[in-house]
């Protein structure tokens, strides 16, 4: 590498946040002059973020932990970024997901928001850089600020959707602010008890200090806040409406990233800030969380069964997936944690894929009620193919990535002897299968009423109908939406095959040694 690149590359921890952020602002500014310039700027910003992320991924894979001191002040006095293998992995996932969705959503964003599209790009990029910062930062207060920038952008991104979106976004805002404020209150307690804001520093202090009621309270507050942010079961109410009525371009990235990053934060706080003994020694907290997750899985799955539109059904699946990760992590053993951490990555990928497929369908059909899905296997074979793959991933069928994280989660449940959780995971697979096959059946066996007789081309020998459906003309989504979707579908398979490498290189080193 030439010296300039060397020089520059050591800054990747900050560039991953700042490059998208600056270019996002540039997108807004340039978009004010000419709308056409906004997209390239946003694209460039996320691309540079992705490059920085991959660069860090390679570096951390070699065993390095990247620490970056903002403004040159050493922690605990200044703010530091600390990127270990797992955060690098999540950062890469965030940037990749955001970039792919940006490309895929360009058309719909520019159609929906017209002159306000530059503002959409800017908010989108702010959102992503906020999430990236949350993952990278080692300072608990900086985390709050970044959380808020991500959330504020999210509220705006959601609020521009369907007619019901503003109300859903407002509910999300209230719930999100409660979550963030609980977290901030927790930060206050931590600060009162330790006087520090740096995670590593706090961990050291807490190690020396031993059990402390203030820290227990801080722990409870932070966890409550994060549970609300990640839409874990009893406080998931904001999520289905917000994601259903948001514009597709927004839903894709939000569903894939928001909850996952909150879970990442939870994992990071428990593993590298609070003493592990606080979380797992008594067993009460951990058990309660796993049971909560178990109930959450069932509740979410059954609510998903009751839905009448596809996108809304998927939002409940997001709730279920959150419960997988929460439960898996709180099992407290290595397999469960690995499963939860792996599932963050896998779920981000498969949620993006499935929502992108729905976005394609909605772009073509204009709606996503189950009755609007008829005949889709004929008219949109590629989108449906991707949908099938992502459906299989969500059900947990090998060799898609969803299977392998489920593997770890269930084996963690078996190791811990937590049969309720195991049964919940297995039942969720079955219920997901029912949900997706319901969709597949409609798309495969039924034909839109108005196409009978008109559109069927009977004379082509190959498509001659014996007793199948009348042939429908193909009406795929536009190519700029289709190619990202297919890439994502293939990624789901690739991630499955790379599971071993990902776990060994990136997840295992991030779990402390005392977790068995």
């Amino acid at each position: 590498m030439d010296p300039i690149m060397m020089e520059f590359s050591q800054h990747s921890p900050v560039l991953i946040v700042m490059a998208p952020f600056l270019l996002g602002m540039a997108a807004a500014a340039a978009g004010w002059a000419n709308r056409k310039w906004a997209f390239p700027m946003a694209f460039l910003g996320l691309l540079s973020g992705l490059i920085a992320a991959i660069h860090m991924l390679i570096k951390t894979a070699k065993g390095e932990i990247l620490v970056y001191h903002m403004a040159g002040w050493l922690p605990p006095f200044g703010i530091a970024y600390r990127i270990d293998t797992f955060s690098a992995l999540i950062l890469t996932a965030i940037m990749a997901v955001a970039l792919i969705n940006l490309v895929a959503s360009r058309a719909s964003a520019e159609k929906d928001f017209t002159e306000k599209a530059p503002a959409w790009y800017a908010l989108y990029v702010f959102f992503v850089s906020g999430l990236a910062g949350m993952v990278a930062t080692e300072d608990i207060f900086n985390l709050y600020v970044l959380l808020e920038i991500a959330s504020l952008s999210a509220y705006a991104l959601i609020g521009m959707g369907h007619n019901r979106a503003p109300f859903a976004a407002l509910n999300y805002l209230l719930m999100g602010t409660i979550g963030a404020s609980f977290y901030l209150m927790g930060v206050a307690y931590i600060y009162i008890a330790t006087g520090s804001l740096n995670m590593t520093d706090i961990a050291v202090i807490l190690q020396e200090m031993g059990p402390n009621p203030t820290i227990t309270m801080a722990f409870a507050l932070c966890m409550t806040g994060l549970l609300a942010k990640m839409a874990a079961f009893p406080v998931h109410g904001w999520l289905p409406n917000a994601y259903t009525f948001a514009p597709d371009a927004t839903t894709n990235v939000m569903a894939a990233l928001t909850t996952k990053v909150s879970i990442y934060i939870m994992i990071r706080l428990v593993l590298s800030l609070f003493p592990l003994s606080l979380a797992f020694d008594t067993g009460i907290i951990a058990d309660a969380m796993v049971w909560l997750a178990t109930i959450g899985i069932f509740a979410g799955a059954f609510m998903a069964l009751a839905q009448k539109s596809f996108k809304r059904m998927l939002t409940y699946i997001v709730v279920v997936e959150v419960a997988y990760m929460v439960g898996g992590f709180w099992l407290g053993n290595r397999a469960g944690m690995t499963g939860a951490m792996l599932h963050i990555l896998n779920d981000a990928a498969m949620t993006l894929c499935v929502f992108m497929a729905v976005a394609n369908i909605r772009a073509r059909r204009g709606a996503d009620a189950f009755s609007d899905l008829k005949g889709l296997f004929q008219t949109m074979p590629f989108s449906m193919g991707a949908l099938v793959i992502s459906g299989l991933a969500i059900i947990g069928i090998p060799p898609t990535c969803g299977f392998f994280s489920k593997w770890y989660l269930i084996s963690g449940g078996i190791e811990a002897g937590h049969w309720g959780f195991v049964i919940a995971l297995l039942s969720a697979s079955i219920i997901n299968a029912i949900l997706f096959f319901k969709v597949f059946e409609i798309a495969f066996f039924e034909v839109p009423a108005e196409t009978f007789g008109q559109n069927s081309r009977e004379h082509e020998s190959d498509h001659h109908t014996h007793h199948g459906l009348p042939s429908l003309a193909m009406a795929e989504a536009r190519i700029s939406m289709l190619i990202p979707l297919i890439i994502m579908a293939l990624t789901l398979l690739a991630l499955g095959f790379m599971t071993g490498g990902i776990v060994n290189l990136f997840i295992d080193p991030a779990i402390p040694g005392q977790v068995l």
Binding site: G396, F404, F445, D462, H463, H467, G468, T499
Partner: protein
Amino acid sequence: METLYSITPLLALLVSLAAVPAIVSSRNMNAREAWTFAAAFIKFGLVLSMAPFVLQGGTIHFTIAEVIPGVPIALKVDAFGLLFALVSSSLWIVTSAYSIGYMRGLDEHSQTRYFSFFAISLSATIGVAFSANLLTMYLFYEMLSFATYPLVAHNQDHEGRVSGRKYIAYLLGASVLLAFPAMLYVYVQAGTLDFTAGGVVAGNVNSGTLLVLALMLTFGFAKAGIMPLHSWLPVAMVAPTPVSALLHAVAVVKVGVFCVFRALTGTLGTGPLSDAGIGTIIAIFASITILVSSLMALSQDELKRRLAFSTVGQLSYIVLGVALLTPAALQGAMMHITMHAFGKITLFFCAGAIFVASGKKYISQMKGIGRRMPITMTAFFIGALSVIGLPPAGGFLSKWYLVIGTLESGQIAFLVVLLVSSILNAAYFLPIVYRAFFCPPEEDLYKNESIKESPPWCLYPLSITAIGCLVLFFYPQPFFRLAQLAVSQIMGG
């Protein structure tokens, strides 16, 4: 025992998968079917090329990806796997030819989709055959379930929808709820899932748990069709006949018993199973299935459904062979995979040929049809002989070994089951043959002069498999040798 690391198994696996894009993008039917044939022959060639090495007692390994510590996605070609792969890949060639005749003969819709998923199914089948561990096998098992769904639901009508739903519900439900957790439990206890002689769980679990695991694995691979998880098979008969023939007589169902076979012998181990007396329990389930399904077959009027129930029974022969856990019984079970495959595919081909030529689906309509379609019905007779287990058809040999196996294990009750079921088999097959040849044809057969032998693309394949049944009786050595080898590998000899 020699081991070799080679990519050939992967190539054999992928070749039909690689054919899919070519099939999809083909401009006309001939090109599409040419691709299918090319893939089929290459696949068979690749499988065959591994035979000499394996026949010498060697195994071929290939690791695709290291996915979970101790459990890679890996391929291993041993005698048993090769035996199964040989059967399914050779029959794919025949079935491809038959498909052309059948699909064109009936002018079916969506043939491209049909051929594509057929190719994918074959890949999955070969994948199961060559799996080195339970995870890999599970992977291909599920792949097969999903790849065959569009084939079962091919007609895209209401019946197809209901059948497809039942099909996927049984297969997926059983595998996710039973086989998957059992596999994970084994993994958590043993830390590995490789198929090894003597199993991997020995010493890690008590006999109660072992029994639960054995039952979960046996029923989890519901493609084996052990009652009460058998009823997907008769409903899956709505699929086009070549699908029923290859998949629901050879590939899919045999994958089921193959998986049960592997899971019981390679994962749980013959030793622990027989020590705990679990084999007998599974054998009882298998016996019940054999008898009940044979009785049910008697009452079916639709030919394909009768064949389906017959298949359910025959599959349980194999499971019974496994459950007896003696060398002869295992060998008989393996031989039966081959023999039943050839016999049953012939029968299905015949059923399909009759449907193509005359549109007849019901046995009661088939009086005298043997006079119009002599070749077809002769083949049917040979296939029936094989399935019943009478010389000079191959089925006799495998049944013979199963009988020896029951004697070896000293469980005479199962011998009785075998004999009674053979009589029942004869009772539901021979009347069809009798009726076809010796009953006067029905009125409408005379009226409709156009009924004659089915098109050559249908006729030749069924003749070939019928001859195959006979040949296997007189020259079973390759399969025989493979089965012997496999037993010694499984029993750890």
